[in-house]
């Protein structure tokens, strides 16, 4: 048993070091450089923070605002839409059906991301069946005018990331288990009270996991915004991509990529801090109750 099995992880270490850490390190390095001319993509002989200043142009700022709007609202919508489903699956649905229901959530999740999004392009298209159907029953005067707007991107991201919210929430609600909820009800708590005071606090790790699982990839989304958003639905991911693609300005693109990562991390830290501040009064109240009781 004294075999050096630590060594088994070496291939994975090396692989990820060469093809994950090194490339990202290179991008960070590029972000301090500049674009030397029309044909060059990057040069690093003069180092500066100028690309970061350049990246914070009004275009970037507008796109950043849009991305944050879609990211925060999309995550909240996923939570609001997904939580009842996860709760229903874990608590109310017949246990024998739960495997099937989970499979039903997982099929869209594992279906090609691009294809699912194309499905929405077809649905939301002004000459699609939804548009003509809504006009036929008189709900709309003209064809649907939502494709290539922020609204379309929002629908797309909520759709695309919803399974990532439902799955961890399901696992969390499932873990809470019936005995605790029944105990709460036997002690006279109403359903709502049981849900708020027993189920939600115990499911909190799952809720946090779901929010992070949705928010992080959503902020970096490239496909949904490209397929469903037009000029109005631009997201930072596209801005980064266009600097590496059409604009051939790797230095500026690198600075934008680094900022994207920093923004995601910063938003998470800020959100955690706000949640902590909100929870402070409740913490104190609980402590008071406990002190009184003891």
């Amino acid at each position: 048993m004294r075999s050096p099995r630590f060594g088994l992880a070496v291939p994975a270490w090396v692989w990820l070091a060469i093809f994950f850490i090194a490339p990202i390190g290179m991008v960070v390095w590029f972000s301090f450089g500049y674009k030397p001319g029309i044909f060059g993509t990057h040069a690093n002989d003069v180092l500066s923070l100028d690309r970061y200043a350049e990246a914070m142009s009004p275009t970037f700022f507008a796109t950043f605002q849009n991305t944050l709007w879609v990211g925060v609202l999309g995550t909240l919508l996923c939570l609001v839409i997904g939580a009842p489903v996860a709760y229903w699956m874990a608590v109310k649905a017949p246990p024998s059906r739960r495997g099937l229901l989970l499979a039903l959530v997982m099929v869209p999740f594992w279906t090609n991301f691009l294809v699912r999004t194309l499905g929405w392009q077809v649905i939301l298209s002004p000459d699609g069946w939804l548009s003509s159907g809504l006009q036929a029953i008189g709900l709309l005067d003209g064809p649907i005018d939502i494709l290539y707007t922020r609204g379309a991107v929002l629908i797309g991201v909520v759709y695309n990331y919803l399974p990532l919210m439902i799955l961890p929430l399901y696992v969390a609600f499932d873990r809470v288990g019936t005995p605790l909820r029944e105990a709460s009800k036997d002690l006279g708590a109403s359903s709502v009270r049981t849900f708020l005071r027993v189920t939600v606090p115990l499911a909190q790790p799952g809720i946090i996991a779901g929010v992070l699982l949705v928010f992080i990839p959503l902020m970096g989304d490239y496909i949904t915004a490209t397929v469903l958003g037009g000029a109005q639905g631009n997201m930072i991911g596209q801005l980064v991509a266009s600097q590496f693609g059409t604009a051939q300005n790797w230095a500026l693109g690198s600075a934008m990529a680094v900022m994207l990562i920093l923004i995601i991390m910063l938003t998470i830290v800020v959100a955690a801090a706000i949640l902590w501040l909100i929870s402070l009064p409740f913490r104190n109240r609980n402590r008071l109750v406990l002190e009184k009781a003891s």
Partner: protein, 287 residues
């Protein structure tokens, strides 16, 4: 407990609302998939405008060399990337479960970083790096289309396989391997005859999930691909500008069936290995 009638009536209305809501959300989840499947039987020139029922889009897969080639590139890359990720990820997963130490936290941190980094950042980072390795350093292997795709697809897959294998082995008793060692089996023999069979359901699940992930990969592929080895999703992405044709829906429908088959296999393998529904869900959601 005393008044069952009241208790049943109270949450009853809430239950109905919950059930209806859930059914609506499931319909929402399947709506675009159903739309794409329908569109794959469209005889029209464009995917959006329905003309009449036809199987022509499916025939195009065989007839059009570009489409056929893209699908084959996807399948080939998927297989190689999944094999590679299973190999490297399994070794790492075993090491994490059986040789835990401080290093495991560093490694888990790295895997977490790999899984949360936005795909677009991976993509724009890999492109200059592969150009650097292939052209500036002259390692021509990195100019090869398949190699580039496999590298790009393997990152996330290695993380997934490592997670799954570790999760499975952590739950199993290491004494089985100690017994094997006590009975004088050399380490390699113990690994092949005891550890690997124990981990096999997780390895298989990881393999199939990696394969599916590779078929799905669009963003990284679009950046690192070399013309001539264009995988299917990148072909679709590039035809966004020129107009989506029904054969795109047809190939998507076939790919969907392939994904479904892999998922069903994953679920079957894990179920045989004794996992519960929520354990399977956790595995498939990526640990």
């Amino acid at each position: 407990m005393s008044d069952a009638r009241v208790r049943r009536r109270g949450p009853g209305a809430g239950n109905t609302v919950l059930t209806i809501w859930s059914v609506l959300v499931f319909a929402f989840l399947f709506l675009p998939i159903v739309v794409i499947i329908f569109a794959s039987f469209n005889s029209g020139r464009l995917l959006v405008a329905w003309e009449s029922f036809s199987l022509a889009p499916f025939a195009a897969i065989v007839e059009k060399p570009v489409v056929r080639e893209a699908v084959l590139v996807s399948l080939r890359t998927g297989l190689i990337a999944a094999l590679f990720a299973s190999l490297v990820g399994t070794l790492a997963g075993v090491a994490m479960a059986r040789r835990p130490g401080k290093w495991v936290w560093w490694f888990l941190g790295l895997l977490l970083l790999v899984s949360v980094t936005p795909e677009i950042v991976d993509a724009v980072a890999l492109l200059p790096w592969l150009v650097f390795l292939g052209q500036d350093l002259g390692m021509s292997i990195f100019n090869d289309g398949t190699v580039r795709l496999v590298i790009g697809h393997s990152l996330f897959s290695v993380a997934i396989v490592s997670y799954i294998v570790r999760a499975r082995l952590v739950g199993l008793d290491a004494r089985l391997e100690e017994a094997s060692a006590d009975l004088f089996a050399p380490p390699l023999r113990t690994f092949l005859k005891v550890t690997l069979p124990l981990a096999m359901p997780a390895v298989l699940a990881g393999f199939l999930l990696s394969f599916t992930l590779s078929l799905d990969n669009t963003v990284v592929s679009a950046f690192v691909q070399v013309s001539g080895t264009t995988p299917w999703p990148v072909y679709v992405l590039s035809s966004l500008r020129s107009g989506l044709r029904p054969e795109i829906a047809a190939v998507s429908t076939i790919m969907l069936l392939l994904t479904l088959a892999s998922l069903a296999l994953v679920a079957y393998v894990l179920k045989r290995a004794g996992d519960s529904a929520s354990e399977i869900a956790r595995t498939m959601a990526g640990g």
